[in-house]
C-alpha cells in the first residue's frame, strides 16, 4: 500500500508540481520549437515519453549493476551514449515492424537523441535514489508532464497566431512571455501531493 501512495505522489509531482518543462526547465528546445500545432506537439510528446521510459528501463540497471560503486564518474558518458543508441534502435525497430507508428512518430525520434529532458530524467532517478519501479513511474510521469505542458502551450500558441502582438515582442519574446504565464499557472499546483 505504501509503495502505491509513493507511486501516486511521484505521478502527481512529475505531472503537476515538478513539471519537467515548466518547473525544471528541461526539454525547453522542443517546448519552444515544436509547439506551434497541437498535433505535432502531441506526437512529439508521445515520442519523448516512450524514449524516457525505455531509457530509464535500460540505464538504471546499467548504473546499479555495472557502474556502481566503482565507476560512478562514467555516468554522464555512458548514459548519453546508451540513450543515443536506444533512440536509433527504437527507430529501426519501428521502421521494420510497426510501420504506422513509425510514420506517425518517425520524424520526432532523431530530435530526441540529445534532448536534455531524457538525459535529465535518467540522472534524476539515480540522484533521488528511487527504486527501479519508482524510476519507471517517475519517467512516465515526467513524460506525461511534458505532454501536458506541450499541449497547453500549443493551444496558447495557436491563439497567438491571430493575436495582435506589440511590435517589440514579436517573434521569440512573446513565445517566452506566454511560456512564463503558462508556468505561472502551474505554480498554483504547488503543495499538491507533498
Amino acid at each position: 500500500m505504501n509503495s502505491l501512495t509513493a507511486i501516486a505522489s511521484l505521478l502527481l509531482a512529475g505531472i503537476l508540481t515538478n513539471n519537467m518543462v515548466l518547473a525544471k526547465f528541461l526539454g525547453i528546445c522542443p517546448f519552444l520549437g515544436v509547439s506551434k500545432k497541437v498535433n505535432t506537439a502531441l506526437s512529439m510528446s508521445i515520442a519523448v515519453t516512450l524514449v524516457m521510459v525505455i531509457s530509464t528501463a535500460v540505464t538504471y540497471p546499467i548504473y546499479k549493476y555495472i557502474l556502481s560503486p566503482k565507476y560512478e564518474y562514467l555516468e554522464t558518458v555512458v548514459f548519453i551514449l546508451v540513450i543515443a543508441a536506444i533512440v536509433q534502435l527504437i527507430e529501426i525497430f519501428l521502421k521494420k515492424f510497426i510501420k504506422p507508428i513509425y510514420n506517425a512518430l518517425g520524424i520526432y525520434l532523431p530530435l530526441i537523441t540529445t534532448n536534455c529532458a531524457v538525459l535529465g530524467i535518467t540522472m534524476l532517478n539515480i540522484t533521488n535514489e528511487l527504486s527501479y519501479v519508482e524510476s519507471l513511474f517517475n519517467a512516465l510521469a515526467a513524460g506525461l508532464g511534458f505532454m501536458l505542458a506541450m499541449l497547453l502551450f500549443s493551444g496558447v500558441r495557436e491563439r497567438l497566431e491571430t493575436a495582435e502582438i506589440p511590435e517589440f515582442l514579436k517573434g521569440l519574446p512573446i513565445t517566452l512571455i506566454s511560456a512564463s504565464l503558462v508556468s505561472l499557472s502551474f505554480l498554483g499546483f504547488a503543495g499538491i501531493g507533498g
Partner: protein, 238 residues
C-alpha cells in the same frame, strides 16, 4: 591574419551572442540564473568544456568519419564534461550543489554541440579555440547578467550583497520559473530591438541551427522553424 583571429573571438561576444542571438543553451540559461554567481559558475564550466571540445574536435576533424560524427562529438564532449564535473565537485562544492543536475547536463547543451558541428569540425585548431572562448565568454556574460537581474528583482541582492533589499521588498516570483521565462523574453526583446536598429534580423523562433539534434535530423538547413518543416514532412508522408 591577427585581425581575423580576433574576429573569431569577438564574434561570440555580441554579433553571434549564443544566448540572445543564436538562442542556444536555453535550458541552463533559464534554470541556473536565480543568482548571478550561478551564472558565472555555469558559464565558466561550459566555457572550459567548449574550448577543450572545440580544440579536440578540430584536431580530429579529418579522422572522424562523417557518418558517425555526432556520436563521436558527443563522446568527446561527455568526456570533458565529466572532467569538469569532477574538478568542480572537488574544488567548488558549493557551486556543484547549486548547479546540481545542470552541471552534467552541459553535455547536451546545444552551444557545445552546435559549435562543434558548425565551426570546430570545419576549421583549424587556433580559430576553433578562439571561437570556443568567445562563445563561452558571451554565454557567461549573458547568463551572469540575467542572473544578476533576477537576483536584484527577486532577492534584492547581487552576488549576495544587498542592493535594494533595504527599501524594496523583493519579488520572489522572479526567482521562480515564471520569472525566468519572463526575464529571458524581455532580454531577447531588447536584443531584438538593438539588432533591428543595426539592420539585422530579429530572432523569430528556434531554428535548426539551435537544435542539438540537428546532425541526426533529416530536415536540416532550411530557414523555416522546426514546426513548419515537421508539418510539411508529415503531410508528405500521408
Amino acid at each position: 591574419m591577427k585581425n581575423k583571429n580576433l574576429g573569431y573571438f569577438t564574434n561570440g561576444l555580441i554579433n553571434e551572442n549564443p544566448v540572445l542571438r543564436l538562442v542556444l543553451g536555453t535550458c541552463p540559461t533559464l534554470a541556473v540564473t536565480t543568482a548571478a554567481i550561478n551564472g558565472i559558475g555555469m558559464g565558466l564550466a561550459a566555457t572550459a568544456v567548449l574550448v577543450c571540445s572545440n580544440a579536440a574536435i578540430s584536431l580530429l576533424r579529418n579522422i572522424i568519419p562523417d557518418k558517425v560524427r555526432i556520436p563521436a562529438f558527443i563522446t568527446i564532449i561527455a568526456g570533458f564534461v565529466s572532467v569538469v564535473q569532477m574538478l568542480v565537485k572537488a574544488f567548488a562544492p558549493s557551486i556543484d550543489k547549486s548547479l546540481g543536475i545542470y552541471l552534467p547536463l552541459i553535455v547536451v547543451n546545444c552551444i557545445i554541440l552546435a559549435r562543434a558541428e558548425m565551426f570546430a569540425s570545419k576549421n583549424p585548431v587556433l580559430p576553433s579555440i578562439l571561437d570556443g572562448l568567445g562563445m563561452g565568454i558571451g554565454f557567461t556574460a549573458t547568463i551572469t547578467l540575467m542572473g544578476a537581474i533576477r537576483e536584484i528583482l527577486g532577492a534584492g541582492t547581487v552576488f549576495s550583497l544587498p542592493v535594494t533589499s533595504q527599501f524594496i521588498s523583493p519579488m520572489i516570483i522572479f526567482l521562480l520559473p515564471p520569472g525566468g521565462f519572463f526575464i529571458f523574453g524581455i532580454l531577447v526583446a531588447v536584443s531584438n530591438a538593438l539588432a533591428k536598429r543595426k539592420g539585422k534580423d530579429i530572432v523569430m523562433h528556434l531554428g535548426c541551427e539551435n537544435c542539438p539534434s540537428r546532425g541526426a535530423c533529416n530536415l536540416k538547413d532550411t530557414p523555416e522553424s522546426c514546426d513548419e518543416k515537421i508539418i510539411k514532412e508529415a503531410t508528405v508522408n500521408e
